[in-house]
Amino acid sequence: MSNDKNLVVELNDVTLKYANSTSFNLKRLFLSKHERQRVASNSNANREAALNNVSLKFYEGDIVGIVGRNGAGKSTICKVLSGVLEPTSGQFYSKLDVGSLLSLNSFFARELSGLDNIYLAGALLGRTKKEIEDKIKDIIDFSELDDSINKPIETYSSGMVSRLAFSIATTYRSDILIIDEVLSVGDKYFKEKCNKRMREIMKSSRLIIIVSHTDSDIKSMCNRAVYLDKGKVILDGTVDEVMNKYK
């Protein structure tokens, strides 16, 4: 994290408030005030700020692991970094092509086949048809889906989905790669293959963000880690420091 590195993305005092859930519901009218509050707090609708005054600097070549409990704001920070959500206050500054970056839990259209989703993901990442077609074979080979690639995603097992997601994300290289809990699925053999691929792309990517609950993923891949809790940065430092504190 030395300052001689090239600063590529910066979050400056970013706060992201979710507007209260505004879905209308007849049932709610008939609930007592107490019940209404209970329902609202259960459904997490009243959680005010998903991110609270977060300031982070990302440098070229960083591989950052983001850890934290469920609801700590990890996925929200990814959405801000990818430009999907704009901060309610504070500045978000990025030198990277933010349009072409995504976290890849489940952006697949489930009724489309794996192959169609490769096209769709390519289009969403701003690739042209030719660029997509050049990569198709690589993606299918790496994901080991073979003939299943022509079946709709809804028939896939979760392992198959994450294999395809990982292949797509790492084959269509972009300046910045956000991996939100994709590494945790897949068998041991595929995991090793993923790690190998990760080491390859670490050299060419400018910034990689990994969100994971698996300590070993963060420890083996990242050179920096951030510990989030309740939308605040608790610690930003080396992997060892953060992992010790997170325990």
């Binding site: 505004t22 976290s103 259209a109 086949s113 042209t128």
Partner: protein, 254 residues
């Protein structure tokens, strides 16, 4: 917005529309033939009901039914699938930075494929019977309906994020609208007291434009049609702005 972003968004729109249509017929025995069979069956059904049961025969009447039913198929399928589009593409809505109006609009364009096949058949029949269309009027009408239906689809899609009942309402709302729109009966059969139902119904105007452009070319009124185009473009523009403004809430609520 720069040209690169525009070409990316257009390619997303094309990919979504194209793949969606492909997915619908995957695994079916008849495949692409369904794009022709479906409208033909609807036309046959309504022609039987109106021509045989109600006894309103006459080539004009049947042709107008064929045009209306084909168009209605396009509009109603677009709107009912667009209503649920944000929910269906939740992953994209929540994770990809792109203009959200692309999603419901892609449904309208996707249904356009099917419509186009049915239209080609219809047009051949019309030409065979000696009706030469006013192509300029047809082009404006097509553009107007594309814009108007996209605007309505976007409205319904946004509404459905906040009021989940919209999807149910759209189902029978479209059925009611089908009967309120002069499709299986001519507009002049509507009694004077109920004429406002036709006058206020944008679909009635669109159907009328199409009938004029395809059959009654001497009744084409360009001025009237341009008003329609301007009005629907304005509505679409406003809705895109509203959708942009509501994007964080949509991502949160979808």
């Amino acid at each position: 917005m720069n040209t690169k972003a525009i070409s990316r968004n257009m390619y997303i729109l094309y990919t979504l529309a194209h793949l969606k249509k492909k997915a619908n017929i995957r695994g079916t025995f008849l495949g692409y033939l369904w794009w022709i069979i479906e409208p033909l069956m609807l036309i046959a059904l309504y022609s039987y009901v109106v021509g045989v049961i109600f006894g309103h025969s006459g080539a004009d009447q049947l042709l107008m039914i064929a045009i209306g039913v084909t168009l209605w198929k396009w509009w109603s399928s677009s709107m009912s699938s667009a209503t649920k589009s944000f929910r269906r593409y939740k992953g994209i809505v929540c994770q990809v930075k792109m203009p959200l109006p692309i999603l419901p609009t892609s449904e309208v364009f996707g249904e356009c494929y099917t419509f186009f096949f049915a239209y080609l058949i219809l047009q051949s029949i019309l030409l065979y019977l000696g009706f030469v269309p006013d192509f300029f009027a047809l082009a404006i009408t097509f553009l107007t309906s594309l814009v108007a239906v996209s605007a309505l689809s976007l409205f319904l899609a946004v509404l459905n994020v906040f009021v989940k009942d919209t999807a149910f309402l759209v189902g029978f709302g479209l059925r009611i609208l089908f009967y309120l729109t002069p499709i299986i009966y001519p507009a002049d059969r509507v009694p004077e007291n109920f004429r406002f139902l036709v006058d206020l119904n944008p679909f009635a105007h669109l159907i009328n434009y199409y009938n004029n452009a395809l059959i009654y070319t001497d009744k084409v009124q360009y001025e009237n049609m341009l008003y329609g185009l301007v009005f629907s473009s304005f509505a679409l523009f406003i809705l895109i702005r509203v959708c942009k403004k509501l994007t964080p809430q949509i991502i949160r609520n979808v």
